[in-house]
Symmetry: C2
Subunit: 429 residues, 2 copies
């Protein structure tokens, strides 16, 4: 075995999403550690500290002791969409490597709610609500995770016992200046937006959770980095080996621009019907497809590299997208449902001779003139060009030829065709 094998996994990582693949010292790790690091690094935003992570993996390999991987959760009851599964996928990859996942429910602070009373959307939850929410969450998450390697804990187990004195001792472990380094605190302090003193206690409690759990690695979104690092500091203070910290990027929605969210309408819910899920995934751009492969597919890195090679050699990206859509539908429904969704999709679009991988385009709020819609959807380079196409009878909306340049379109979804080849599915807000 030479160090050349250690270079290759990194070069395959995260084709589009990772701004800088984590580096770890080459040559001193086993092949197993190298492979694990490649899998762990796939698509990450940041892994701190890569060399420590490799050491933890090496120790785990030597002792047979699985690593303890923490994910903190607010006990809310979300309808999960694919954006939420990015972190779950990473946890599953870690489970596949033999490690132990700990779902930590932040019930302690949820039982308090927002003590300022200013945030009426965050009233205290009852223990019953917390249990019900956690159950809803795990039912959904178990479609991704291996339940046998998932431990569920609640931080009230150790936070209640802190008492007022423990809380003061905890608060002594960080400085005000350190807290004000957190991005949102910095901004709010500079802008004169009030920060309640108790908000400084939450990152400390989150760090204390890592001490209580003796976590080896904590995962979170990029916006959680500060809080995750607090765990490292408190573990070090407590004489523990500090956890590594892994942040995952936010998944872009179907539009490829904004982060996936229910309120933006650019999401794929994990409970959506197979046809809906399949069709939505087929609507994404070719560029976004590679990001989704990195963050949502469980196919090995070598296979992704091979698919990219095929695309470079001229394979139709649509066919590669079908593979992604089928993998996702299979995960949340079944293989049979995925096959049927593909068949339905092809039948539907072959009839209308509308391309199957129609890009979905969001434009401004209706009513909008057809000329403006064509321009905003990028189907024509200018409004005068849009007018010319309409005059020549070259524009169709949902199959109907448009005769009137002055036509107004209200909110809704339209399949718009310009000439023979230009199609788009346009959503008017």
């Amino acid at each position: 075995m030479t160090s050349s094998s250690s270079a290759s996994p990194q070069s395959l990582l995260a084709p589009a999403a990772s701004p800088a693949a984590p580096q770890w010292p080459a040559g001193q790790w086993s092949q197993g550690v190298h492979d694990a690091m490649a899998e762990i690094s796939r698509g990450v935003d940041e892994l701190l500290v890569a060399a420590e992570m490799a050491q933890k993996l090496a120790d785990s390999e030597r002792t047979g002791q699985p690593l303890r991987i923490k994910l903190g959760l607010d006990p809310t009851a979300p309808d999960l969409h694919l954006g939420h599964t990015v972190v779950l996928n990473k946890l599953r990859a870690l489970q596949n490597l033999g490690h132990q996942v700990i779902f930590l429910i932040g019930d302690f602070t949820a039982l308090i709610g927002d003590p300022t009373g200013r945030n009426t959307t965050r009233p205290p939850l009852t223990p019953e609500e917390i249990s019900a929410n956690a159950k809803t969450y795990f039912q959904q998450a178990s479609l991704v995770l291996d339940a046998s390697r998932t431990e569920i804990r609640r931080n009230s187990e150790w936070c209640e016992g802190l008492g007022a004195r423990g809380m003061i001792r905890l608060a002594a472990q960080a400085t005000v200046a350190r807290m004000l380094e957190r991005d949102d605190f910095t901004k709010r302090y500079k802008a004169g937006t009030p920060i309640s003193v108790h908000e400084f206690l939450y990152p400390l409690l989150q760090g204390h959770d890592s001490v209580a759990l003796r976590a080896d690695l904590e995962l979170g979104g990029t916006d959680q980095k500060f809080n995750l690092l607090m765990g490292r500091e408190l573990q070090r203070d407590a004489g523990q080996s500090p956890q590594c910290v892994l942040t995952m990027p936010l998944l872009e929605g179907l539009d490829g621009i904004e982060k996936m969210s229910k309120s933006k309408g650019n999401y794929v819910g994990i409970a959506e019907a197979p046809d809906e899920m399949f069709g939505k995934l087929m609507s994404i751009s070719d560029t976004l497809m590679w990001k989704y492969f990195t963050l949502l597919s469980f196919r090995p890195l070598a296979e992704l590299a091979s698919l990219q090679q095929q695309a470079a050699e001229g394979r139709n990206p649509r066919d590669i997208k079908v593979e992604l859509a089928q993998e996702i539908v299979t995960r949340f429904h079944s293989r049979a449902a995925a096959e049927q969704a593909l068949a339905n999709f092809e039948a539907r679009f072959k009839q209308g001779e509308v391309p199957a991988d129609l890009p979905l385009v969001q434009v401004g709020a209706g009513p909008l003139s057809v000329v403006a819609v064509l321009k905003q959807a990028g189907l024509v380079p200018s409004t005068s060009e849009a007018g010319r196409n309409i005059d020549q009878g070259g524009v169709r909306i949902d199959g109907q030829k448009v005769a009137d340049r002055g036509l107004q379109l209200s909110a809704g979804e339209y399949v718009i065709q310009v000439g023979k080849r230009r199609f788009a599915k346009v959503v008017i807000a």
Copy 2:
């Protein structure tokens, strides 16, 4: 009764110490309230809010319900000096007006100590140490206070019960920006000196104490103003009528310059022997004497005004100072001891023909040349003038003529005389 009677108490207040006598709306209060306000305002640094204080006094007069006056104490065991008694004197005045004093021992935080471990001079105290220290304190304070109107409480009574959740709720009641307004926090934050997050919790706990005690008035030194005001805010949040806040100035030491403190050597300990106490008080300047009358004497304001009148009409200030020194010695020893101290004092100084009211002057660290000492003590305008006086045989130290300009004086106390009239008691550090 007219409003003219309400103006007179204010004009008599605090002859020298009060930078701005508190104002309260004239005319709407009873004579009793006016008199009480005059007594309460005597010598204060600030009284917030005077109109609220007058209202509380009026309510108390109407209902017969005494006001609850809080003084928070760290459970350390100081040797009290006169500087410490300034606040105690004010409490005694309030007791004389019929109100209830609450000594609050801050045992809760003392049991924690400094949780950062950085401050080795503040280790956690045991409950036994706290009890012993409190006992020592009260033994001394009871020479000033009326024990029958003094209640002793410990804040662990209610702080322990806050628990971790109560601590978070408490922390939610103030903002980070508000905390950083506190003078020392502002300075430390700007200077980059670390402030631990737990330090923000202490003012909140102090404020919570006022809520638990339903305090009507809290006393403290000027440096406590921020913490005292926190009590007002938390009481308001808790739906209570906010406490008034009364800060007392720091007492200058015998030198009339620095605040009285043991480490500066410019203090009068309340356990000092009558002769020592008497002699030290006789050494203060005439200006300082009036401040001491305001802050240390229990003589009514009208009597102080009369003494000032006598001084203006040519009565020897020394004789007025004797009245102050005798009052203080009587308080901490007895009337007989005060008489004896006066007799001893007069006998001692009449023999040596040294003035009785010798100013005490602190100069730099010894050994110092006699020339430098004369200059530093302000007995001569320049070192050359000092040399000239020595050469002419006009300088005496402890009665002995100085012949040598090069004489070195080591640390100690000396009575130095220049010419016939200039005397000083000089302390070389």
